[in-house]
Amino acid sequence: MNELINHLKERFPIYDVVESTTGPTFVSLDAAKLIPMITSLKTNHGFKILVILSTVDWIEDGKFQLTYIINNPDEKTDLGIRIFIDRENASMESIHKLWVFAATFQREIKEMYGIDFPGSPGVDDQFLLEGWDEMPPMRRDFDTKKYSEDTFFPRPGRETNDPAEYMKQKLYPDE
């Protein structure tokens, strides 16, 4: 893996290399360089499998993180590539030409986070949320509690007590 990382360092502006003995090694990369690097890894370095494409909402930094985990089945190694894109009008190049089923990941991310992948087949189709017209629900500014209060009715039979108030009633009601 060291050799590969050194090789990548010479060709691509990778940074924040985090090596692990138990999981994949992670590298961070400028979003614009993702397609060239991941193509090279697939065609020249045996990383034939896309394991997962996942998203983190760094709302405080105004960024989305996309993590591409790829696998080299011959050497049984995983590599995670992290890129960061602006949260506003979030958009990223599609990788469906490298892995056809990446379109499914991208369609899900579009629905859950609102990140666009122009050209990805069916990216605007509904995935899980039929008839959803709210903010994409995995965005951290989506108010889950308010949504459920507005949408569902409360379950009957629930009641609770504030410990301090309850202790006052029980121990010193008149003071």
């Binding site: 609770t160 410990p163 301090a164 309850y166 202790m167 006052k168 121990l171 003071e175």
Partner: protein, 600 residues
């Protein structure tokens, strides 16, 4: 559609007689992983119903409900968490925050019911098959904490800096330290019930976190008009029940209170507390004694519009807070800050005025609409051992009073203090300081009946006394004071092995084979204080109900058998400052109710 698409599904039938790849009987024996986040378990004995699990639950799946057989008491709300599995997502935050470590998730994950209501259950109360399951999610140890288990250390003067001076030894928190300490509070409010004054503790700690110290001061004054004083010397019973104390160090509630009071300048108090204009109600109250209960009653009565006059025997106000507690624990300017604010509300104090001598209680009863007496425990108790009537045997409380008054006390190079409470430590440490100043060396031994682990004094008092050069040698019963040629030579003691008999009565037993002799030329007795009720005339005593132990009976408003006479403070409850404050507050409300009814 090609012919292949039609044929392929049928090709699967070829596998029908192959050995299956699935596990046979998948329903049984499929335990969850060792750290699986399955169904809840709660150790009811350890749980104190602090409700932190309820607060952290993002899904609002937890309610706190009363449970039969679990009593609401100091440090335990009596409530227990009930989980609604219609909402729970098994994230495990309730387990991770649990302040006592009572809550866990087992690795059980199958549960079938017809009635959906059954999925709302109280772990530990409603019996479940997984109650004895050991595997599952527990709070990962160590270093996985949502709050700091350790206190922010309070800085003290070093022993060598303080051993010959009466300068305040506790330095107080900085803003950064106070906010960091306040950040450890989980706002459960378990402490509020235990505080005799039921102070809004989580609320004022929250004010520190929000850096809104004016709001903090208002919260303090709702229930306690002596925050500078209590912020220094309160017995802090609240800290003993603090929920954080179950797995870590309790919040420094007392020091946080001091921080709020210290940070607010006295000249802004009236504006902050909105007490610039008080409408008078035309009634007047006399208060006997300017200790904590009297000052507290005066404060709340003045706010209600009463004309309040305090009668004080000594030349300054504060009672035991000034004349009992040494200056290095409670500086006089801090006492004055609290008292001056109360005086600014229009409260008058008549100093050097003794009831029964300068004016009688009957006269006060006639002159004022009501009287509150908080006269405290100012008489020392004697051991009555042989030699204790010698002129060089002193009462700690008298010496402490003299030190405050600025009078010189008799001092010797070798002195002995009898007593193991906080007052004994106060006089021991004061003597050590004075000896240090006069002789350059501390030479005082404090001894008590109680062994080290049972000494009633706060632990830090004992530790600090030793740091300052005093010897604390507990577990000895005084036998007699040796006197030769009318001079004290020392104190003979015997090992004390039990304090109470089988009925629980105070009856110390000693081992006369294990004797010891403490050398010293002066002895100070500090084994407790009694009340001086000589200001009560026989006529008044006749009207009051007095129990076997000599305590005057009062009702829940601290009203005595004489309707116009309210009594509180150390002579009724305690003894400590915070009970006095609480009594004074309750009595003030009681007086108001009494006079309000009377005028109708």
């Amino acid at each position: 559609m090609s012919i292949k698409d039609v044929i392929v599904p049928f090709s699967a039938w070829r596998k029908v007689f192959d050995k299956p790849v699935t596990i046979k009987d998948p329903i049984n024996e499929r335990p969850g992983a060792d750290r699986y986040r399955g169904f809840h378990k709660n150790d009811l004995e350890t749980c104190i119903g602090c409700g932190t699990c309820e607060v952290i639950c993002e899904n609002e799946a937890i309610d706190l409900v009363p449970v039969e057989g679990i009593e609401t008491k100091d440090g335990d709300s009596g409530l227990r968490p009930r989980v609604d599995y219609g909402r729970c997502c098994w994230c495990g935050l309730c387990v991770d925050i649990c302040t006592t470590g009572s809550l866990s998730l087992t690795n059980a994950y199958t549960w079938v019911e017809e009635d959906p209501e059954k999925y709302r259950f109280t772990p530990g109360v409603d019996e479940k098959p997984w109650d004895n399951e050991e595997k599952g999610w527990k709070k990962p140890e160590p270093n996985y904490e949502f709050y700091n288990l350790k206190r922010v250390t309070m800085e003290h003067l070093h022993p060598e800096e303080r051993s010959d001076s009466f300068i305040e030894m506790v330095k107080g928190y900085s803003k950064e330290q106070a906010e960091k300490e306040a950040d450890r509070c989980v706002e459960c409010g378990i402490c509020t019930a235990t505080c005799p004054a039921h102070m809004g503790i989580p609320e004022y700690i929250k004010a520190i976190r929000n850096n809104d110290l004016e709001e903090g001061l208002r919260i303090l004054y709702d229930t306690n008009p002596l925050p500078e004083i209590c912020g220094r010397i309160c017995t802090h019973k609240c800290e003993a029940v603090c929920t954080i104390g179950h797995r870590g160090e309790a919040l420094s509630i007392r020091w946080l209170k001091r921080y709020i009071a210290d940070q607010n300048p006295s000249e802004k108090y009236k504006t902050i507390l909105n007490s610039e204009f008080i409408e008078k109600n035309g009634k007047s109250i006399a208060i006997i004694g300017s200790g904590p209960s009297g000052l507290s009653a005066a404060h709340y009565l003045a706010l209600m519009g009463y004309e309040v006059t305090i009668y004080e025997k000594l030349p300054h106000a504060g009672g035991m807070m000034r004349y009992g507690i040494p200056e290095y624990r409670l500086p006089y300017d801090q006492i004055d800050k609290d008292i001056d604010y109360i005086l600014s509300l229009g409260v008058k104090i008549l100093y050097n005025t003794t009831i029964g001598k300068d004016i009688t209680l009957e006269e006060l009863g006639k002159k004022y609409n009501a009287v509150f007496a908080g006269t405290g425990l100012h008489l020392g108790r004697s051991t009555r051992i042989e030699g204790s009537d010698h002129k060089n045997v002193y009462q700690s409380i008298e010496l402490l009073r003299k030190i405050t008054l600025g009078e010189e006390i008799d001092l010797a190079e070798k002195m002995i203090v009898i007593g193991g409470g906080n007052v004994a430590m106060d006089i021991t440490r004061s003597i050590a300081r004075l000896q240090m100043k006069k002789y350059g060396k501390a030479g005082v031994i404090a001894t008590s009946l109680e062994t080290e682990d049972k000494m009633p004094a706060d632990r830090e008092e004992v530790v600090e006394a030793r740091e300052e050069g005093a010897i604390v040698d507990p577990g000895w019963a005084p036998q007699h004071i040796e006197i030769v040629d009318d001079k004290i030579k020392g104190l003979h003691v015997a090992q004390c092995h039990s304090l109470f008999d089988e009925e629980g009565n105070f009856n110390p037993q000693c081992n006369l084979d294990n004797l010891k002799f403490f050398e010293g030329t002066m002895v100070v007795e500090s084994i407790g204080q009694g009340m001086d009720l000589s200001y009560l005339s026989d006529d008044i005593k006749h009207e009051l109900e007095i129990d076997k132990r000599g305590r005057i009976k009062v009702n829940e408003d601290f009203q005595s058998g004489l309707p116009w006479l309210f009594i509180g403070g150390d002579i009724i409850q305690g003894p400590d400052v915070i009970h006095g404050i609480a009594n004074g507050h309750t009595a003030a409300k009681g007086i108001d109710t009494f006079l309000f009814k009377e005028s109708k």
